[in-house]
């Protein structure tokens, strides 16, 4: 019997070797790939159990993880249920996807970025739960609040940049939403809330400042056009174009008009300076035709059009059309036709003018801080491009000051300070309400802040209101808040 028994013993040992092997394969060899399998809910749970870092504005949390009494240990809490910061922070759901900074800075917030490797090892050794890093934003809470208040009940967006650094000082989009609705651990409730927000005709989930449907810029595009015209060296503020009260676009039966009707300030011809100050369409259509599509496109690209920009939130690229049709070129030369922009793009154009022709890369994250608030990573200002010369910038600034002080942007004036600005009133289609714009900066001689304001639906006045009535006062309120600091 012993011989048989020895053989059976060998079989038993082989069976156990198979088990030792299979458990080793699962728990050691393949453990990494099994851990990261999307179906491994434990990894998901664990990512919630590590305390996610807060999102800070001026040192104060606007999003933070607070203890919850369920298996996820922490729940995300947003301090502004009115949604003032929602377009920036986005939301952090259990498993329904994230947006905003929550998504763009997820690795830092969860502490899983490469920079955190040593901390993770320490956490394993000491048995502590790893904590995520804090993300400090460039937002100035006073300016953000001023922009939020100034926009009032309008649908639209406000973007404020520091032209010298590219820091985003304020970013408001309305209507907004309460991100806490989507941070609950009750997945069914979250899905129901999400569907409700999605079905809301006001599109509260859309960040209009950078990622909404693109807008027609209307006359704010003339800042870019004027910069290109002057910087090309072929035009000066005194360059003249014919001054009819209506112009039929070549090859079409469509006539274009100036916004006030009639001609542009009287006279046979009109200068670029006057066309800019009075915001006339017909002269700009002619200037654009003379400068040419390719040159304008080159400048548009240098200002950021058509480029993928992450701030680190992804910004929808703005569009300047490449066309061989003169009529489309002429329409797009005063911000109509096929020009489509984000408010951030308009602010970037103005920021380049304000910063002596040098465009700084817009950025929303100031620094990443360790859980005990030591600096781990900071983001220094980065140059995006130099679309125009300092000389051009200075000239365009003068034209923009004139536009506020003596022209179409009169409602942006601030007592005792020169404001450089440009309004816009974009047409959207037969009978559709206008899109109202303002962009500018102050003080004009030492710009502290660049602003772009967009108001949808004609500010509630259909086709009867213009940018100077609705958008310029909003910008003025925000710039006053900047200057009072």
């Amino acid at each position: 019997m012993s011989r048989q028994l020895r053989r059976v013993s060998i079989v038993v040992v082989l069976m156990f070797i198979a088990l030792f092997t299979s458990t080793t394969i699962i728990q050691a060899v393949q453990s990494d790939s099994l851990r990261t399998d999307g179906r491994n809910v434990r990894t998901l749970y664990a990512s919630y159990s590590a305390q996610r870092g807060p999102i800070l504005v001026d040192g104060q949390p606007i999003a933070q993880s607070v203890p919850s009494d369920d298996q996820y240990k922490y729940v995300r809490q947003y301090t502004n249920p009115d949604g003032m910061y929602a377009p920036i922070t986005g939301y952090f759901t259990l498993n329904q996807g994230d947006t905003g900074i929550e998504e763009a800075m997820n690795r830092e917030l969860t502490g899983t970025a490469d920079e955190n490797f040593l901390d993770r090892v320490t956490a394993i050794v000491t048995g502590q739960n790893p904590k995520g890093d804090a993300v400090e934003l460039t937002i100035d809470p006073k300016i953000q609040q001023a922009a939020w208040d100034a926009l009032g009940g309008q649908s639209g967006a406000v973007v404020v940049l520091d032209p010298k650094t590219g820091a985003v000082l304020a970013m408001v989009s309305k209507p907004s939403y309460d991100p806490n609705l989507l941070a609950s651990h009750d997945t069914n409730q979250v899905i129901a809330n999400y569907k409700q927000l999605l079905a809301d005709p006001g599109d509260p989930l859309v960040n209009r400042a950078i990622a909404g449907d693109l807008y027609n810029p209307g006359s704010v595009f003339k800042v870019l056009m004027t910069s290109a015209l002057i910087d090309s060296g072929r035009f000066t503020p005194d360059s003249q174009e014919p001054n009819p009260s209506a112009l039929v676009l070549p090859g079409t039966s469509t006539a274009i008009h100036n916004s006030e009707g009639g001609d542009c300030g009287g006279g046979e011809t009109v200068s670029l300076a006057d066309a800019f100050r009075l915001s006339c369409n017909i002269p700009f259509a002619q200037f654009g035709r003379d400068l040419g599509n390719a040159t304008i496109a080159k400048y548009a690209k240098a200002f950021g059009f058509g480029q993928k920009i992450d701030i680190p939130l992804p910004v929808t690229p703005s569009v300047y059309p490449i066309t061989s049709d003169v009529d489309r070129l002429m329409l797009s030369s005063f911000g109509q036709g096929d020009d489509h922009v984000t408010p951030l793009q308009i602010a970037m154009v103005t920021a380049a003018v304000a910063n002596g022709g040098k465009l700084m890369k817009p950025n929303l994250v100031k620094s990443v801080l360790t859980p005990d608030l030591k600096q781990r990573q900071s983001f220094s200002p980065e140059e995006f491009s130099s679309p125009i010369s300092e000389q051009t910038a200075s000239t365009v600034t003068q034209l923009m000051i004139n536009n506020v002080n003596n022209g179409a942007a009169s409602n942006a004036r601030i007592r005792g300070v020169d404001v450089a600005g440009k309004t816009g009133t974009a047409e959207n289609g037969e009978g559709d309400p206008y899109t109202l714009w303002f962009t500018g900066f102050a003080p004009a001689n030492d710009p502290q802040a660049v602003i772009a304001v967009v108001v949808e639906n004609g500010g509630g006045h259909g086709q009867s209101a213009v940018g100077n009535q609705i958008a310029a006062p909003i910008a003025r309120n925000v710039l006053e808040a900047v200057l009072s600091e």
């Binding site: 019997m1 012993s2 011989r3 048989q4 028994l5 053989r7 059976v8 013993s9 079989v11 038993v12 040992v13 069976m15 156990f16 198979a18 088990l19 030792f20 299979s22 458990t23 080793t24 394969i25 699962i26 728990q27 050691a28 393949q30 453990s31 990494d32 099994l34 851990r35 399998d37 179906r39 491994n40 809910v41 434990r42 990894t43 749970y45 664990a46 298996q71």
Partner: protein, 473 residues
């Protein structure tokens, strides 16, 4: 009382002289003599009890953050019962193997701790919890084992009841198929229910069948060893001796087809094959048996959807369509994910998420432990099983009589095979089948059966080492 130099192998069937002594005499003699085996056992029981109670303490600290003295009192009862068994062994089986009880106490204790841990996660505590019920079942199982030790004073008695054991085994096997008391759990017909109680008679059947196989094979090994014609280089058994293997094969197939339970079927058939091979020394029995079983199983997998499903879930576990299918690989993968998250050293007791896997405290107790104790913990558990089985095989090598040797091998092999089928199933070595993990998994019938196996192995092993110091029994 006679002195004998060769008390090692008393003649088969004749009780040893010592057994005629009065009990008081026996006790007096045994207390006077040093009992090395028992002292070793006592020494091992201390750390075993510490592990069993300490595991529950760690679960409480890990999952509750506090201690619960009520539960700690309850879990200290099984080690106390083990101490009672230990004292009884000093009297009724002084030379029994010293490792079996401590190993069973550790495995049983780890099982209780993990089941209790999953209770905490599922918030089913107190008498509703599987953990408390497992403790009660442990006490019942240990009491039955105690009774077996006292009643069965010599394992040779069992040989006389071989055919009764066969009848009992077959009845137990077929019981779940009786209308009225049979119950269907996750597709398999394994348990019988009386009101709130349910029991898996198949667990006990494996002991009855091991006793029958041992008795039958010891009496019939000569004719079974004779070989007939040569086919394909293999000497086949004589046709007239094929009866038993065909009967057992048929029984295994009945279990497979009607109770829809591949694991139990494989367990019984594997047990029979190993025992007939050990008894006769003819490998052709194994070849013949495997051909029969694999053929039957393949046929069944074609006919029976559930067997085919198990094979798909095994081979293509990561395929999303199989993962999402009813009866697919969801549970298997979730168990493996848990083990992977446990990694080398585990999350610590009470600090993982084993409750994520369905049946975490019964069929999936090993992945649950793997998640919280890590690869290190699973190696220790597998090592304990291997040690347990090797102690049984040791009886097979140096036992006093063929019936005892064969029975000891059968009982320990059935534990080894069951561990292989369950752990192999949850770690993708073989297709998943629904068997309980001995001592660990929640369930009273399994605990009872395995503690009876402990009692029987203790009893048989007592004959291996008679006192060598001139004091006969």
């Amino acid at each position: 009382m006679t002195l004998g130099s060769d008390t090692r192998t008393p003649p088969l069937g004749s009780p040893a002289a010592g057994q005629r002594q009065t009990i008081t005499q026996t006790i007096r003699v045994r207390l006077r003599e040093p009992a090395r085996m028992r002292n070793l056992e006592l020494g091992l029981l201390v750390p075993a009890a510490a592990i069993a109670i300490g595991a529950v303490l760690l679960v409480q600290l890990g999952a509750l953050g506090t201690t619960d003295s009520g539960m700690l009192t309850l879990v200290s009862l099984p080690p106390i019962f083990a101490l009672v068994i230990h004292i009884a062994l000093r009297i009724v089986a002084r030379d029994a193997d010293p490792f079996l009880v401590p190993i069973a106490v550790v495995l049983n204790g780890l099982g209780i701790a993990e089941i209790y841990r999953i209770d905490i996660a599922q918030k089913t505590l107190g008498w509703d919890g599987a953990g408390v019920r497992q403790i009660v079942w442990t006490l019942i199982a240990m009491a039955i084992a105690f009774a077996v030790l006292l009643v069965v004073r010599s394992h040779r008695v069992l040989q006389r009841y071989s055919y009764i054991a066969m009848a009992a085994g077959i009845v137990l096997l077929l019981l779940p198929m009786l209308p009225g008391i049979g119950q269907v759990t996750s597709g398999a017909r394994l348990s019988i229910g009386f009101g709130p109680f349910s029991f898996q008679p198949g667990e006990l059947a494996k002991i009855a069948l091991a006793i029958f196989f041992a008795g039958y094979l010891v009496s019939n090994r000569e004719p079974l060893s004779l070989m007939g014609r040569r086919v394909l280089g293999l000497r086949l058994p004589r046709a007239r001796n094929l009866g038993p293997i065909l009967v057992v094969w048929a029984a295994a197939m009945v279990v497979l087809v009607f109770q829809r339970d591949l694991g139990t079927s494989l367990l019984y058939f594997g047990l029979f094959l190993v025992m007939i091979y050990v008894a006769t020394g003819k490998a052709s029995w194994i070849v013949l048996g495997l051909v029969l079983f694999v053929g039957g199983a393949l046929l069944a997998s074609r006919v029976l959807g559930y067997v085919e499903g198990r094979f798909h879930a095994w081979l293509d576990a990561f395929d999303p369509s199989i993962y999402n299918a009813t009866g697919g690989s969801y549970q298997l993968l979730q168990g493996m994910f848990g083990m992977a998250n446990g990694g080398l050293i585990g999350s610590g007791l009470g600090q993982g998420r084993p409750q994520t896997v369905p049946l975490a405290s019964s069929d999936y107790i090993v992945p649950s432990l793997g998640e919280e104790l890590g690869l290190v913990g699973l190696f220790a558990i597998l090592g304990l099983y291997l040690l347990f089985v090797s102690r049984g095989f040791r009886v097979g090598y140096s036992g006093a009589d063929d019936f005892g040797k064969l029975l000891a091998v059968g009982l320990s092999f059935v534990v080894a095979l069951q561990v292989f089928i369950v752990v192999g199933g949850v770690t993708r070595v073989i297709p998943l089948t629904g068997l309980t993990t001995p001592f660990l998994a929640a369930g009273g019938s399994s605990l009872t059966a395995n503690w009876i196996i402990v009692a029987l192995l203790l009893r048989i092993s007592d004959t291996v080492r008679p006192p060598a110091r001139g004091v006969a029994r």
